[in-house]
């Protein structure tokens, strides 16, 4: 490895430490309330990272609850059979396999049709659970093995580990091997194909990885409190959340979904604190709308824009480049 590669590696590791540090700090402080908030944030962030990986190839999903739920159910049902490690791996592989299938059949779908197809998928898979009580526990739910012996701080540490893993996966797909190719596929698939990129294969790869990471989020979630019904994991909430988190945080980055998850949850808790009752949900909805109008590129995109603008004013040639564009 050359020096530049070494530098990048150190930078990355530093980034992961920076991301994990607040979570670890909360876990070590054993602050019961913040631990639960942090767990919720970490799960959202993992799911949002999964969604973002897929969206980098131009596939806007509204059906990630399907993989979230499958990950939760898969790991919970397979752990008693295969043990915790193999059970989780098998659960995630199941998510990946289903994602490959869904990715393959939705390849030809464009824009809104793709989005509706993913939504349809998540709605029909939920019903699959309801009607197979013998296999999946049906609507009365399952009682998955509880993570980390049910100690919330330990659970948080474990989920933080999963978040770092998801961030690392996200970074692999933001690396030189995939990022340019993915963006090219999203922006102009013809140009990508004309550059020798196997467009179909990469789109399905993104789907598989995204499905597995979403499954990881679901597995973490299902392992928290010991009792899960389909309504907890296969609901529209989990279809919409990754979209909201990622867009508010900033797309096409690893930091964006993490920042978005923190921001969204804090927004909710703050609104809950100051508004309370039912009204806080109104504030929440209103703020989402304001964000979309005011910061269409998300928090990370907004911050980058500010930085770039400042740089541009410092460097005259930079200013010229902006003017030209």
């Amino acid at each position: 490895m050359n020096a530049a590669g070494m530098n990048i590696l150190v930078l990355r590791l530093g980034f992961y430490v920076a991301v994990a540090a607040p979570f670890v700090a909360v876990a070590l402080a054993e602050h019961a309330f913040l631990v639960q908030v942090a767990i919720g944030i970490a799960v959202s962030a993992i799911l949002a990272l999964a969604w973002d990986i897929l969206s980098r190839t131009g596939q806007v999903s509204l059906g990630h609850a399907a993989f979230f739920g499958m990950g939760g159910y898969g790991s919970a049902l397979l752990t008693p059979v295969l043990g915790p490690v193999l059970g989780w791996i098998a659960g995630l592989l199941l998510c990946g396999a289903v994602a490959v299938l869904l990715g393959a059949v939705t390849l030809r779908l464009r824009r809104l049709y793709f989005t509706i197809a993913t939504l349809s998928f998540s709605l029909s898979i939920q019903v699959f659970i309801l009607v197979t009580p013998d296999l999946t526990g049906g609507s009365t739910g399952i009682m998955p093995p509880v993570l980390a012996g049910g100690s919330p701080p330990h659970q948080l540490l474990f989920i933080t580990g999963c978040l770092v893993a998801a961030a690392a996966v996200s970074d692999v797909f933001l690396g030189s091997r995939f990022r340019p190719a993915f963006f090219m596929i999203r922006n102009n698939p013809h140009l990508a194909a004309a550059s020798g990129v196997p467009v179909t294969r990469l789109k399905i790869l993104a789907f598989a990885v995204s499905g597995m990471v979403a499954g990881l989020a679901g597995a973490c979630y299902a392992g928290l409190y010991g009792y899960v019904i389909p309504d907890d994991v296969f609901t529209t909430n989990w279809n919409v959340l990754p979209l909201a988190v990622t867009i508010l945080g900033g797309m096409d980055t690893t930091l964006g979904p993490v920042v978005g998850a923190v921001a969204l949850r804090l927004l909710e808790e703050v609104a809950r604190h100051f508004v309370g009752g039912v009204g806080y949900q109104v504030v929440y909805g209103a703020v989402i709308i304001l964000f979309i109008v005011g910061m269409p590129a998300g928090l990370v995109g907004f911050a980058r824009g500010l930085l770039r603008r400042r740089k541009a004013t410092e460097r005259p040639d930079g200013a010229k480049a902006r003017l030209a564009s």
Partner: protein
């Protein structure tokens, strides 16, 4: 199963289809012109339902009139929403548009919860029309009214789009927005108009919801998802296609629920599985224009 039973199931499913179709009618027009999937359409329907319910319960206003009033009110609200923020969001990416309308949906739903509590309530109105006897099947009067108004809404959308000058402008604007500008059409205004008409249709269909379903802040959530399925099934923006889509969705759900054991659970999932399969085979819906590969 007897022929009569099948006939009964089919006819009753078709009256449900009319309700779905009514909810989808406005959405298919808006989507066809602006390409925006408006998640808040379900909440527009809900608001229409509350308005019709409130007018009838408090002042005894006839649901016929209530529906019309809801249409006007929701049309105005749509204009407000469009001008305040949707016009800006139109220029953004599709995922941002999705999130924007989702935010609006959360906002409206929770405002309704605050104003009216989450409890379901029922409009006790005498049947608007006499029941219709079709052979062995009796269709309740209010369902007849829903079928009638639903169909009328669809015809109205079709008529607006195909036989009015605004409709022509909408078709021009969705076909080729830039060329429409050259033809002297204020495309932004046309988009707004299509959104307003979609909202008005949502208001009217909300009146229908009050007529045959219960009124509840969350009543629009399931309905709007079905409406998406319907317009995707029929091909985005294809109005007659959406009518067929509504019929197919309701028939699949209804027949599976009636004739398959445990079908009440299967029906919904099967309908969406079918939609997924249709999209796999025909990527632009059953009646949509197929795109070049």
């Amino acid at each position: 199963m007897t022929t009569a039973a099948v006939l009964q199931a089919v006819i009753l499913s078709l009256t449900v289809a009319a309700l779905y179709a009514a909810v989808a009618a406005g959405l298919t027009l808006t989507v066809g012109v602006t390409r925006i999937i408006n998640f808040a359409h379900g909440e527009f329907v809900m608001l229409g339902a509350f308005l019709t319910y409130g007018l009838h319960t408090r002042w005894g206003v006839s649901p016929w009139l209530g529906m019309a009033a809801s249409g006007v009110a929701l049309g105005l609200l749509s204009a407000l929403v469009y001008r305040l923020f949707l016009a800006r969001v139109l220029k953004q990416d599709e995922h941002n548009q999705l999130l924007a309308t989702l935010g609006l949906s959360i906002l409206l739903l929770n405002i309704a919860v605050i104003l009216w509590s989450p409890d379901p309530r029922v409009m006790q109105a005498p049947a608007l029309l006499p029941p219709l006897r079709l052979g062995p099947v009796t269709v309740p009067g209010n369902n007849v009214a829903v079928a009638l108004v639903g169909l009328l809404l669809f015809l109205a959308m079709l008529w607006i789009k195909n036989h009015t000058r605004y409709g022509t402008q909408m078709r021009f604007a969705s076909d080729d927005p830039e060329l429409a500008l050259h033809a002297g059409i204020n495309v932004d205004r046309v988009f707004e108009l299509s959104f307003v008409i979609g909202g008005a249709a949502a208001g009217v269909s909300g009146g229908l919801v009050a007529l045959v379903l219960y009124v509840q802040p969350s009543v629009g959530v399931d309905l709007v998802i079905r409406a998406f399925a319907i317009i995707a099934l029929g091909g985005l923006g294809n109005i007659p296609g959406a009518l067929m889509g509504a019929a197919i969705l309701a028939l699949v759900e209804g027949l599976v629920s009636t004739f398959v054991p445990q079908g009440g659970s299967w029906g919904f999932g099967v309908a969406f599985l079918l939609l997924l399969l249709v999209l796999i085979v025909r990527p632009s819906g059953l009646f949509g224009k197929q795109v070049q590969a």
